[in-house]
Symmetry: D2
Subunit: 338 residues, 4 copies
Amino acid sequence: MIIILKQGTQKEKINDFIKDLEGLGVKTHLSAGEHTTIIGLVGDTTVVDIDSIKAIPMVEDVKRVQEPYKKANRKFHADDTIINVSGKKIGGGNFAVMAGPCSVESQEQMEEIAYKISKSGSGFIRGGAFKPRTSPYSFQGLEDKGIEILQKIKKATGMPIVTEIMDTADVSLFENVDIIQVGARNMQNFKLLKELGKCKQPILLKRGLANTIEELLMSAEYIMAGGNENIILCERGIRTFETITRNTLDISAIPVIKKLSHLPVIVDPSHAGGIAWLVEPLAKAAIGAGADGLMIEVHNNPQKALSDGAQSITPDEFDGLMKKLAKYLELENKILAL
Amino acid sequence: MIIILKQGTQKEKINDFIKDLEGLGVKTHLSAGEHTTIIGLVGDTTVVDIDSIKAIPMVEDVKRVQEPYKKANRKFHADDTIINVSGKKIGGGNFAVMAGPCSVESQEQMEEIAYKISKSGSGFIRGGAFKPRTSPYSFQGLEDKGIEILQKIKKATGMPIVTEIMDTADVSLFENVDIIQVGARNMQNFKLLKELGKCKQPILLKRGLANTIEELLMSAEYIMAGGNENIILCERGIRTFETITRNTLDISAIPVIKKLSHLPVIVDPSHAGGIAWLVEPLAKAAIGAGADGLMIEVHNNPQKALSDGAQSITPDEFDGLMKKLAKYLELENKILAL
Amino acid sequence: MIIILKQGTQKEKINDFIKDLEGLGVKTHLSAGEHTTIIGLVGDTTVVDIDSIKAIPMVEDVKRVQEPYKKANRKFHADDTIINVSGKKIGGGNFAVMAGPCSVESQEQMEEIAYKISKSGSGFIRGGAFKPRTSPYSFQGLEDKGIEILQKIKKATGMPIVTEIMDTADVSLFENVDIIQVGARNMQNFKLLKELGKCKQPILLKRGLANTIEELLMSAEYIMAGGNENIILCERGIRTFETITRNTLDISAIPVIKKLSHLPVIVDPSHAGGIAWLVEPLAKAAIGAGADGLMIEVHNNPQKALSDGAQSITPDEFDGLMKKLAKYLELENKILAL
Amino acid sequence: MIIILKQGTQKEKINDFIKDLEGLGVKTHLSAGEHTTIIGLVGDTTVVDIDSIKAIPMVEDVKRVQEPYKKANRKFHADDTIINVSGKKIGGGNFAVMAGPCSVESQEQMEEIAYKISKSGSGFIRGGAFKPRTSPYSFQGLEDKGIEILQKIKKATGMPIVTEIMDTADVSLFENVDIIQVGARNMQNFKLLKELGKCKQPILLKRGLANTIEELLMSAEYIMAGGNENIILCERGIRTFETITRNTLDISAIPVIKKLSHLPVIVDPSHAGGIAWLVEPLAKAAIGAGADGLMIEVHNNPQKALSDGAQSITPDEFDGLMKKLAKYLELENKILAL
């Protein structure tokens, strides 16, 4: 941590301040220049509250030089984390595809989609039972009935299921869910993150619309600090001034996260672009950028979907897509988790 | 609602589509131009799912022309909503100041601050018991003990209290809280919004860091649709590329919201700027732009604050600020809620 | 400047690197922690190219701690700069209003507007002769004829004129223009900035749609480094995800710029909001936030304006606005430049 | 174009307005609903000024339904445009790589880089003679001497050259430049775009940091409207709130532009990420997303580069990269322009 002092600060005050800082257990180094005086802090600076330091009159600015996350940090965990879900691996060269409709609408719908996408190479089936919708007047999901349908599909097809949790009150309903998803809007629902830290299942943590990569890693840290280190991160687009696409897929986030963290990262091209014909180019780009998996919305009849119809592809389109992606995975030496 | 069709769509297909649309109970008008064919939909278009329409191959784009919110819409409720909290009014010419520390730290701290800000003209006292912190290693608030301290302060000073809820599981703890705050990160925690729709207390709803004004009004609509129409909106800065300030205060949001909605809007200059010396200019700007109140962080010792020290002002600075603001309120014919 | 080194860098390499750095004429301080090693650089660090340092394999990151601008920096020029245009002062407690139409359309139009706004208290008249339009098919301005009309208006009314330059090739045409405006899209047209450094007239420099405050000050520095230190900065809204307003007025930029720089700052509420009814609340907010002036679009017939009709107010509305603003200026002890 | 009227507008006024509109030569269709009345405009709506319409009191909002660009629009030019530079093709399945240093520093430097990248598969050599630098105190380029060096390199190696123009005054210096680049900061320097419309050489038009895809196409339209239809578009990252990367590469822009326009699109992964180790993943992603080429910064000694060292790769790294990219190009059936 670097503390930059205001011009003209008296030496005595600086010395007192340094004593205070060292009292916190960190070491300091003073660099006094003509126009700028800097105090460098080394050691465990997590004990130092940046906001309080900034509130001190003689302080002009404070800059952190170490990442604020530990468990998610590759510096302290050099090898890729590999998540194992019923024998299917994600990360460390293993590539996961999680396909399915935006919302679970009925058992018939889910069955029809599940068998088809399984044949095409999706290792997991996704589907929303609890749906975060912008309007209170939109379809809100089948809720617990949706979870029940997912369990039946899992029994019938053997595919592990991925579905979103929205509230701490629902944790018990997710006991038999294989991968619990935290949606973009809940990335900083810290109470929920803490509860999920006590769960055993892997957590699929989506990046918030306006959250930095560092904040995403801090949210992963919340869950990990609670005891659950099985986190899959998901880039699904951020909000920018561009309006043609629903969001702006931050493709650079993939290599950046893989540099900073050991956790696997997947990409959701359906939500990122918000348009069915964007899924293919964005999925290819994701593999090229180093992603460990994809989450893709597939609906048997997008025009009748109860949510997100515009960005869903059909099972046939998904089959064609998977054939093309197989060649990209080969180039990157990635093994499809089946 | 306007549906723009792709060039070269066959007339028969268009006619079939129009029949489908009218089957939903809306009226249609067809405008066929050389390069563009448009279907205009009038009537209750909330039954039409835009995403599904966009998924239809002949459709190029869909544009909404009516606001998606009803209860929060000034078109259906021309007069300003006035919120009444223990006789103190907010909105419709009544101006509310809610001051206090970021976090409730101890009863002594709260008492010291409460008496001082009350004298200076703060009608309400704020203080966080449950704290949404980016890092799991930061102070997380006194939780239920914090709520207890706030109740004692209320008894002692008579000031109504404002504090933040983070989870549906905590609703019962907030029974005696006068104004329940929903933080920026929970603006789209829809489960929480639904629960708060069942409460009787006014809800202070903060705009999310990357949420549009329309989304803020939709979140208000969630609570109102549940039965609680006492909503105070709060602009507290949005996330942009500028990094000198913590957030970018969207000052235009105030007149825009007041045009679109009848709900009162307050401004939080402390979080918006993130720097103590920005509180005064931003508070003045807020009054000039038409705000119905201010939420200001005041701490008796910002350098020792357990959170947000850099943006807190002292009780003395608050007193000086209130004297200056009084003249601005006079210009705008606003009555301070005391 | 702070250089953060990668973990595990050999001591010898660090010593060699320090020698290289000191060879550039700066002093260094080494802080070696368990996980982080930092080199602090003091002295004239403008000679050090951050990008080249970042390219060195042992370097993890580089952070600047001093502002990269000198002439625009308040640290080296504590007093407010006051710009004097034909006896009318801007800055240091003097408030300038520059009103007029978006485009100069005809002499009759300009005359009608000029006499009216002059009576209402506008000290300057603005009007575009060269118009930066997004579409090549839109009206592009009267160009040199527009400048001629402005000169006549100046003769007739005595009001100094403000108009925009778009190209280095036109500099000679601006010889008798009192304040030369650089539009938002040209804020980083460095060739143009250099040319304007050779001019004697004050430059009104508008902030770019996606430019930081620091970049705005660096563009001012370009002009000042060329010899012209008469710069008026202008905040006119930045681009964010919000779409109801044309841009998002960064109201905090005003106090921030006044803290960092001695140059006067004005606000353009017309372009910021893009809607006529937003001009009043944003103008009041600007004064509250400490602005040194306003640039306001006034058109005698907004519905027939050749550009920006939606955001123009009428001369009558302008007159009403000025009466209200007078009271705000009084509160801030600002003197209207007439 | 769709005009939405305010509630309660009198029928007579609407009829008068419709007559006015039809007087402009467009056809209208009126849709009157209970809460909303809409006028649909069909025909050549480019004659209608949206801003003036919005200024009419009875108008609530105006929405465009047709793209504002014609010459750049794929609707009126279904086939991919293929740019031919001395026999090297760009677009329509032909892939161009333009490598070289950020700045032309000396003939020796350029020669060393040119021969190496040519062997590795770069079809073109790039290098800046005129450099847009944020600071007036940074290296500003060799200017005309830089152009001379580029000409010599072209003679020696046969590689067409790409270099940036910053000012209309320099057009004559670019007569023998094969591809004239317009930098991101000049994307809306409309005077420059108009001048380039008169040139014969292909123009490489970079997207501005805060410009939408539609604005990029409008800037292309400017040049095309002037007579020069040889435009290569370039996505080089946009500005968002994320700070780890220099910019955020908008990977979706590639398939979106190719859907909307017939012009070729290339990607600049060096500027987008701003970090050398991001070039490879972003380059692969670009090919996966459908790009027609890449612009890559290669420097023989990044640590001594006079600009952009941190994002430059070495000729050896470039050689390794090109070998990997060859396989991606094969998958996409793209032919490398050599």
